[in-house]
Amino acid sequence: MSYRPKPRIAHPGLKKNALGLTRRDYEGGMSTLCAGCGHDSITAAIIQACFELAVEPHRVAKVSGIGCSSKTPAYFLSASHGFNSVHGRMPAVATGANAANRDLSYIGVSGDGDSLSIGLGQFCHAMRRNLDMLYLIENNGVYGLTKGQFSASADVGSKAKKGEVNEQPPIDPVLTALAMGGTFVARSFSGDKEQLVPLIKAGLRHKGFALIDVLSPCVTFNDHEDSTKSYAYTRQHYSPALETDFVRPAEEIMADYDAGAAMSIELHDGSRIVLRKAAPDYDPQNRGNAFAYIKDKLRDSEFLTGLLYVEETSRDMHALSNTAVRPLVDIGWDELCPGSSALPGILKRYR
């Protein structure tokens, strides 16, 4: 929601990138998400990554679906065109947009509800087409905007704020991406800017579909015992019934850990998430091994993070359909309409 214009104050001493733009030039409207929301950290990481990459803001197209995550494109790159589509259908919009103009950089922001439930089909098919875009899933395991229902990424045994226990196995976007032929598959944590910013930069630069599943705690609806995105050993106890409509101000979660080390991070509610960074010798180019390794770790309740799989030689949608290198929107009338001289030849078969 960008209804409140943010004052533009640029200090003369602000760092500038190769285009002479400051970080402020990559910002968007004020976030209206809950204070401490993991999504805002991801927004900041996107801003940082685009600033550091010195992308021309107006040469980026931002696309999203519906949900808390899908609101965030309004909070970064205000000089980019944005498209807040319908629930779960952002990949289709991105596909059509990319078909028409392949020269822009596409950043898609989605959530676990948007991508793993209502939009699971579109998510899979965009990967199958190897659409050239960066696709971020801001994964918090719950439906925030409708107040805390389980999403398809909620883990078995996790308890909702009102006490309901999830019995259905989660759909893991990373494993799904590996199975669907995703060519850039990463996982990170919203609080880990150090890992996330380089991943976003790499994803933007990847030719093809770059998925980053970003675990992003929901401070409002994960603020209870046995919360979806935690494997809490020690849990703090809250009374969900009393907190349904109460949004606690909270600090953003920051994680900092060494490569190869597993660690658990305390979430706002005191529950924990266990992260394991890919080991430095992890081979992100072996799909089968990556799949097995990630699945093994998930069984041990550990989320492996980092760039988990990448296939740099893959062909994107345009390469697969042999589309002109020039964007289709730049092709002029004379090259599109065959004119009256071609008609007799076309109509001959209808005589």
């Binding site: 807040n84 259908r89 919009v93 596909t95 078909a99 028409a100 589309t323 929107v329 004119g339 071609a342």
Partner: protein, 606 residues
């Protein structure tokens, strides 16, 4: 053979061919129709086929009409009964005095006799088994053989048939020869065993010069090519599939770089219709001309996004080749049953412009017009064709193209425009016509805004403010009023100063015109209006105003066009008399004639 042959009927009769689908009858029947067409005689072919690949009954109906009538007449003068399963029904369909041809290789039940029908047996299977090798060839050639027999019975020009076969099998001359052999087989048999020609026969005319036989889907695809469309997204669905097939093959020929092989188009086969329309909107947002062909079930699936396109104001063109509903309905049968669901597609207050082609020529013209309107009005546009138009071969004048035509991209701000602009407000009604200016992504940072289906104000920002919301949706209404002046005007045929009229739409046109002609011959002269678009223009209102009673002819059960007229014009519903046809077969002139006659009698009595 009954002693009394019917009166001589030259170039004015109906041939119906009853086949089993998947036996190659389509090409034989098309050969028959094209032969008559090439002899200069107006003809129209309608295919009644099952939603199936092999083994179910299928019919092809060819109307030969020296007067150029294009609708079904309700008659069957010659029946070629090749399907034992439907023989009984096929025999009963023959009009008194008609002829039935069957394969006499096998005995026919003695019960299947009609005194008023001439029954001609030809041992088609037997002859083909003797002359051709291989099961496939024998099955296919049986069809060609009956075409040969008909050539003798109807006095078709063998040279014309030969030329058609030579063209069709230009790359396989041995096939052309085999087909011609089958033609001769049937031809000689008929000459030897029957009195040829029949009283119904074909005589060379010169009424098809500068005409083509084309289906609406091919013509629409051609319109897309000429309109400069670059992006197509679709999910296969009968009866719209051949539209995208045709577009692709045209693109392969006219949009592929001769040197590099690069394509100046992108066709995406989507995972479903929800995605297909999303792709079209994405491409339209970027500034490409994009479309999707679909049918009723697809429209249902697309409706959420179509509402988005309306509210966020994104150009898109949707070809809805209507088929029988509700639900899956009868996928290979025709209806005009999506009028209301297209007009008000999607939740919330939404209305969409619709173009109603009446034949393949108009599919071509309206395809081009649809993209101009979509970009001018910045909204999804429906082209509501139907299975009858889309998949049957219609005789149309040669399609024309004006090289001076240029696409209308609508109110799009250029890079220079944006450079000069103080600010850019996406949804501001600068010109008072309800149409705002838009910017395309990637052109200029000043043009950036956030396209959204959620509440937004004139500046393009998110809003939940009551006044700001109302300002936007009221402007959308103004835009719709503007649309009424931009869409194609209705066709009006004034034949009398009477107070009774007929109003119709789309593929009903041919049948209505024939019915009006027949009524006229009896001294009943009625005015006629054919709606070509929604929103309805002032002309529609004026036409309704100046008649006391208007028969509204359409092909659905609920009188959807009539309801739309009641909703969207100031007209007393009592004066709109529904004339409805909805059995899935194309409307015939006979049913309209009957309904109007009855209506007029009732009116007179009342």
């Amino acid at each position: 053979m009954p002693a009394s042959q019917p009166a001589e009927r030259i170039n004015d009769f109906v041939i119906k061919l009853a086949n089993v689908n998947g036996t190659g009858s389509a090409s034989a029947n098309s050969l028959l129709m094209k032969s008559i067409f090439r002899m200069g005689v107006p003809v129209v072919g309608k295919n009644f086929f099952p939603s199936n690949i092999q083994g179910l009954p299928t019919w092809y109906e060819i109307r030969v009409s020296r007067d150029g009538h294009i609708a079904r007449s309700g008659r069957v003068d010659i029946m070629v009964a090749m399907n034992a399963e439907t023989y009984r029904q096929d025999l009963s369909d023959v009009s008194p005095g008609g002829v039935l041809i069957y394969d006499s290789t096998w005995p026919r039940s003695h019960e299947l006799v009609r005194e008023d029908v001439t029954i001609l047996g030809i041992p088609l299977a037997k002859m083909c088994n003797e002359h051709f090798d291989g099961i496939r060839a024998r099955i296919l050639m049986k069809n060609v053989t009956y075409v040969g027999a008909l050539a003798a019975l109807l006095e078709l020009d063998l040279e014309v048939i030969k030329a058609l076969l030579t063209e069709t099998f230009a790359n396989k001359p041995e096939l052309a020869a085999a087909n011609m052999e089958a033609i001769s087989l049937g031809y000689e048999y008929a000459r030897e065993h029957f009195e040829c020609p029949l009283s119904m026969r074909v005589e060379t005319m010169d009424l098809t010069r500068d005409h083509i036989m084309i289906d609406g889907n091919s013509a629409a695809a051609l319109g897309c090519l000429y309109a400069g469309v670059t992006v197509g997204a679709w999910y296969p669905i009968t009866p719209s599939t051949s539209l995208m097939d045709a577009f692709r093959s045209l693109c392969i020929r006219y949009r592929s770089d001769a040197e590099t092989g690069e394509n100046r188009y992108c066709v995406v086969q989507a995972e479903d219709e929800l995605a297909a329309i999303g792709m079209v909107l994405g491409a339209g947002w970027m500034g490409a001309r994009a479309f999707t062909p679909t049918s009723g079930p697809g429209i249902s699936l697309m409706s959420e996004f179509i509402g988005f396109g309306y509210f966020a104001e994104i150009p898109a063109v949707i070809f809805d080749v209507q088929r029988v509903g509700p639900s899956t309905g009868m996928p290979t049968r025709t209806q005009q049953c999506d009028i209301l669901s297209a007009a008000y597609c999607s939740h919330g207050d939404t209305r969409h412009p619709i173009l109603f082609p009446a034949d393949p020529s108009e599919c071509f013209e309206m395809a081009v017009a649809a993209f101009d309107l979509a970009e001018r009005l910045q909204t999804p546009i429906f082209v509501l064709s139907d299975l009858d138009i889309g998949m049957n071969d219609w005789m149309c004048p040669l399609l024309q193209w004006d090289d001076d035509y240029r696409w209308d991209r609508g109110k799009v701000l250029s890079k220079a425009d944006l450079e000069e602009a103080e600010h850019f407000w996406r949804y501001y009604d600068h010109d008072g016509d309800g149409i705002p200016y838009r910017s395309l992504p990637g052109v200029h940072p000043k043009g950036a805004y956030f396209t959204r289906g959620s509440g937004h104000n004139a500046e393009g920002r998110y809003t939940e403010d009551a006044d700001e919301y109302r300002e936007v949706v009221d402007r959308l209404n103004r835009k719709f009023e503007t649309a009424a002046g931009l869409v194609p005007a209705p066709v009006v045929v004034n034949s009398a100063r009477g107070d009774v009229a007929v109003l119709s739409v789309g593929s009903c046109d041919g049948a209505v015109r024939e019915a009006l002609l027949l009524l006229g011959e009896k001294g009943v002269k009625l005015n006629y209006m054919r709606i070509k678009a929604f929103p309805f223009s002032d002309q529609v209102q004026a036409f309704l105003d100046r008649h006391e009673r208007v028969f509204v002819v359409e092909q659905n059960r609920d009188g959807q066009l009539r309801k739309l007229l009641i909703n969207e014009t100031r007209t007393d519903p009592a004066k709109l008399v529904p004339v409805l046809h909805y059995d899935g077969l194309p409307i015939g002139s006979d049913c309209i004639l009957e309904a109007i006659r009855e209506g007029l009698e009732k009116g007179a009595a009342a």
